[in-house]
Subunit: 440 residues, 4 copies
Amino acid sequence: MATDFFADIPTIRYEGPDSENELAYRFYDKNRVVLGKTMEEHLRFAACFWHTFCWPGSDVFGGGTFNRPWHAGANDSASAAQKREVAFDFFSKLDIPYYCFHDVDVMADAQGVAEHRRYFAEAVDHLEKLQASSGRKLLWGTANLFSHPRFAAGGATNPDPEVYAFGAMQVRDALEATHRLGGANYVLWGGREGYETLLNTNMKRELDNLGRFLSLVVEHKHKIGFNGTILIEPKPHEPTKHQYDFDTATVYGFLKAYGLENEVKVNIEANHATLAGHTFEHEIATAGALGIFGSIDANRGDHQNGWDTDQFPNSVEELTLAVLEIIRAGGFTTGGFNFDAKVRRQSMDAVDLFHGHVGGIDVVAKGLLNAAALIEDGRLDAIKSERYAGWDGAFGQQIGGLDLAGIADLAEQKAIDPKPRSGRQERIENIVNRIVHSGK
Amino acid sequence: MATDFFADIPTIRYEGPDSENELAYRFYDKNRVVLGKTMEEHLRFAACFWHTFCWPGSDVFGGGTFNRPWHAGANDSASAAQKREVAFDFFSKLDIPYYCFHDVDVMADAQGVAEHRRYFAEAVDHLEKLQASSGRKLLWGTANLFSHPRFAAGGATNPDPEVYAFGAMQVRDALEATHRLGGANYVLWGGREGYETLLNTNMKRELDNLGRFLSLVVEHKHKIGFNGTILIEPKPHEPTKHQYDFDTATVYGFLKAYGLENEVKVNIEANHATLAGHTFEHEIATAGALGIFGSIDANRGDHQNGWDTDQFPNSVEELTLAVLEIIRAGGFTTGGFNFDAKVRRQSMDAVDLFHGHVGGIDVVAKGLLNAAALIEDGRLDAIKSERYAGWDGAFGQQIGGLDLAGIADLAEQKAIDPKPRSGRQERIENIVNRIVHSGK
Amino acid sequence: MATDFFADIPTIRYEGPDSENELAYRFYDKNRVVLGKTMEEHLRFAACFWHTFCWPGSDVFGGGTFNRPWHAGANDSASAAQKREVAFDFFSKLDIPYYCFHDVDVMADAQGVAEHRRYFAEAVDHLEKLQASSGRKLLWGTANLFSHPRFAAGGATNPDPEVYAFGAMQVRDALEATHRLGGANYVLWGGREGYETLLNTNMKRELDNLGRFLSLVVEHKHKIGFNGTILIEPKPHEPTKHQYDFDTATVYGFLKAYGLENEVKVNIEANHATLAGHTFEHEIATAGALGIFGSIDANRGDHQNGWDTDQFPNSVEELTLAVLEIIRAGGFTTGGFNFDAKVRRQSMDAVDLFHGHVGGIDVVAKGLLNAAALIEDGRLDAIKSERYAGWDGAFGQQIGGLDLAGIADLAEQKAIDPKPRSGRQERIENIVNRIVHSGK
Amino acid sequence: MATDFFADIPTIRYEGPDSENELAYRFYDKNRVVLGKTMEEHLRFAACFWHTFCWPGSDVFGGGTFNRPWHAGANDSASAAQKREVAFDFFSKLDIPYYCFHDVDVMADAQGVAEHRRYFAEAVDHLEKLQASSGRKLLWGTANLFSHPRFAAGGATNPDPEVYAFGAMQVRDALEATHRLGGANYVLWGGREGYETLLNTNMKRELDNLGRFLSLVVEHKHKIGFNGTILIEPKPHEPTKHQYDFDTATVYGFLKAYGLENEVKVNIEANHATLAGHTFEHEIATAGALGIFGSIDANRGDHQNGWDTDQFPNSVEELTLAVLEIIRAGGFTTGGFNFDAKVRRQSMDAVDLFHGHVGGIDVVAKGLLNAAALIEDGRLDAIKSERYAGWDGAFGQQIGGLDLAGIADLAEQKAIDPKPRSGRQERIENIVNRIVHSGK
């Protein structure tokens, strides 16, 4: 199966922190056991088709810089097949277990429903073979309901029911393909499920259409026997002015409104978290607290740039906090770390794709090692337990059984006069830093 | 009752658009009927105690500039009484029907539970008399669970149950006082209900404590027969790093999680909306779509400054869109427009308080006139109806009865190939501008 | 010359505020005299090639929706000619005096230097004829040093001197073409003159290269006898992580560093101002205070979206403040209001281009009428003069002649104890609103 | 001299990375030689009076939580003296060489000029003794021209010349005190040198007043023989809507406008950098490129909160990049790392002040070690040199001697067709991470 696009690149292997090989893992030792599971089982890495194999290196202000062979002409069946083969070479050379795709990422450009179905089926057949020959697995599939001009005003929230129906066709097929390919999850990212201006938008109608669409997807999942998880990926805006799946808390409310909170979880993207005004770890912790943590799209934004830069994660400090919250949320079940990240437009060489992924994988892996060390150290947990200890004590238990007036009366009877206590934030931050930067 | 603090200021009256009197209303004609109700009934204006009578004109980088007589010494019973009297002079001179307060705004500084209850009761007695003599009414009351050092780590989400109990005492008393004073609503703003760092925070425990607190408040409301509305005021952060009531959609999810979505609504503040990454009108439209629109805290932020500037609303264009969404959400029932706005620190003269409120009231009033004109014009509604017309047509109705596979199959049978249609955003924005700026 | 692309659209005329014609001006009466000049002379409107005729309606997440006839195949000489003809029809139908272009906007796609020069020359010949036949004039020309992949790392700041040389060729030709076409200004927007990461950037070397490039352009301007103004267009970032021409104050420092502050002015874009953390009017006022105000790129951003949305201006309130600062900066000499604005991706019909421009023109025109009314009203100027009156009084004059110790000693001798005075911000904002919304 | 406020805290010592003592340095080994200088000489740490000893733990939404003994009553001479003594105990126990202060931080509250001068002189006498007995030195002094109500509309930019004169008195005295105390620098932070609304502001007049004020300060410095550096501290806004010293590039333009670019440098604060839309390292690199790098105010902001949180630096990754740029800018001469950072309002115990500073010092120290390792590794410099190598080659040198037309002609003659080359951003970021996280 091997193509020659990455002929110069060896399979990436773990060589340990002392290695001077820039194309080796220093921290990602897939068989190393951490907190009772191998790193591979903990992190469940995936690479994606869209940024890594479809995007030509263009941006709003300029054309593609990448010049991949499969970008040379039309995206026909031959080009799509070449792209799929190169992609599987890549997944294999990274030696990570999973990959992810949108329907249109893997297939030839199609006109209309019939052609779409035919080209997609052709692609899925090939993917099935590539999976078998490479041993790589599908973390999740999804359908692209935002790139084609017909989706300019959204997919499931489109004012035109024909667009909704076109989207339903794509999602049905992508969900069934995901099932056939043994995918662990199916994702819905509402790229244009939002609005450009409230002035021409019927928000209630659009939300109800979106809620019904999701209900139909869940129903179909059960009908076909797909056991993977349905995931929604929150994002606050871009390309739309406002996207309905703004953040994890918003998605939770949406799921509750349509009775889907036990059926659907979230796929949290770091850059989407920061665009929504949150830290990455906040979104994970929120999903954990609400019981809807699912999977991760690993990348980072730029704190000075207000758009989705989708850079590779490069902060071990940040990933330490993120992985810590993932572990506290119970870790991944069906989810994993998918690199929804793209090399810079100036990084046009094939080797740059490896630099991006190898660096990102090691950043996440070191984050896991640090998070595990923090948990094993125990000080953070001890400080937190002590901080809330009053709720487990007599007074805390007592007020747990009283109504508002009862608690108020008790406060008066006891003439309570509670004093603030130090939250020890600086001490805690030092503990984290010491684990991260000197292991103590 | 009249004090002499505002002796030089006459009662503010409607004088029409041609008036050259800077202390007169040009648009707020309280008896003018618009869309079937008087402007007074539509807008239900209130002024607040905290910014207007308690805040001394300080900021993080400097001390108070205002030098009100009641700020001269300690905030004892006499000072508090003077402040209350001046405030009611102000409400009367503005000729608006409502006011709002936190418990600590209207009372002398207290040490401990017993003193708090005594001083607050003393203040409520006085407020009752002032209401009767002035004819002013209470839009909403609330309890301040964020200023005293004991609330440094929150009120209902405090790690210390004694602080929770102290807060319960305050809320019980403030809710009962609101009931006694005939208040139309009771508000909970979670000033410090959030976290400074996730590292010392048990988010699930805090959310559950907050949910239970709110449930107790609702239960107590029913027990005492209070018919007003319980309102939560969303804010994303400040003073905390993250506040749990981030925005309207988040509050909705929170209410659903604790089964309170039919009991509690939102008090939307313009500046909190923009801090959360939303427009003011977005938050109103969201509340309308979710069925939890309650009341408004009228102010504005500064788009270049990332904190709560709480300036007076001064954009008629913005208020036109906001009032339009209020009307579409059904208008106020118990809610109203409360000026949670403060004059600038450099605006230290008594007359500046009038400039701020008179200008703000007229901005909102002109917004109402414009919104009504847009509704009466009908073009916006017509464009929107036409945009979604497909959902009311045969195809839209047909897919309403099908499952995912049924819709997908239909799409294939019909070989649908929907084309994007213009959303006409620029045309619509022109219509709004022409109504706002030339009445056509 | 007329093409049939806009066959259904009549020439846009002034019909006054009472017109119900959506494709008529209500405020832009080009012959109306305001503050001693006609509105046409004040505002000097231009439309642009790039957003209006070159952009296909694509964004980062989806392809073009516009399907203009000249987008159907390759951008060859015939397509480019068709585009130029349609554009001039548009400028004529809007009845505005000016247009603007980048070299690559108006020409066929070229490979290499020779072809670039040949196709550009061909386009300029045609533009010259179109100007003559239509009576439209060139507000400014520019060269695009950011879209072609060769400019991925910048033009004048590129690490590769060959790219710098390619850019020099383009700028030389575009400047000479602008001169030949009677252009009033020549613009440099440093689209990729910045960095993606400091880690691979020699900032000092890049700034020096950029400074020298600008010096060469100024020198060439004088050599060829071009009397127009050289303009730099500030922008803080996007597509780059950081752009060297961050904002007006930064550009001023850059000009001073290379001795060009009397040779170059700024072309201020509203959306770039807000991306830089400033108001539009701030950037104009700063340019006025520093003596480098040149021209305007009229558009607006979205305060909730952190990228360059380039929407049409639609806030009369904002434009009132902006035009007020333009007048205070002396008004335009060679500059004008160029619509660097694009209709939304969903506004794909030809008529939407007219809705965008007609609305934008009227918003600016009403802003001018309001600004003139504020100046004629005189209250704002009077308040400001009074506020600084002390500096014109005895004490202000006295300290103007003393050194630091002299002033300090005087303060001590006079035992001065200055009190803060109200800045009357709310009163002033009310005056503005009353002029804007009721003319008083 | 020792007070008993910090009686329980030992002097903080270097114990190395393996220490389990939370109140020890793990990386800050003051005598360790790095790149030819000791760490103490490189970093020149200082602690500040204002956040650490003056601020009571208040914020906009609540009162002080700290209850330091010297906050108990009025800030009279005795309280001020106690505060000074405790502060010097602190500086000594941290074992850092420097401290910083505003005039009002160290003195009793004063009414009017005479009292101000008397109380300040009293404080300076005491500081001189404390310096002698403790061996601590003054990194910089400054005058507070923003907290007192008289400065509500600014100091040097105040519309009232008496306020300007009052400020001149304070600055004269503070500069002379700094000189007498052997201070290494004198800082001007323009806390309210900006505007709240352009509508009442004469920007040109204010800038000229500010420029003259700075000129007078420079003149006075020379007159009294002060050899330290005059520093301006950029900040974009807060408390003002806009501060004139927005960022480093803006300050540079301001200095050039008043001919002071060789007399004044910048004191860069991390949190001010991010509020201005820049990274911390960007501001340092810019100052280095422009030749005005002076000193550092070490702290951090919160990327999700839009105000000056002034937290302790806790990102080694960020400080690595910052220190790298400091070294590239030539390192400190008179400047140093001053902790303009405050513990959280919930961190009310004395020990929290140590956790904050010890952690911050170690973060900066580890950043220095990492930066030195990156420089010694050499790969970053090699990549950068190679990237710009063309400018040192024949073509680069050739175009260095040509004018615009000459370069354009050369491009044509040579038919150049430069291809973009990879900027290797991901590879470079990996190199940094490997040095930071595994030393390779």
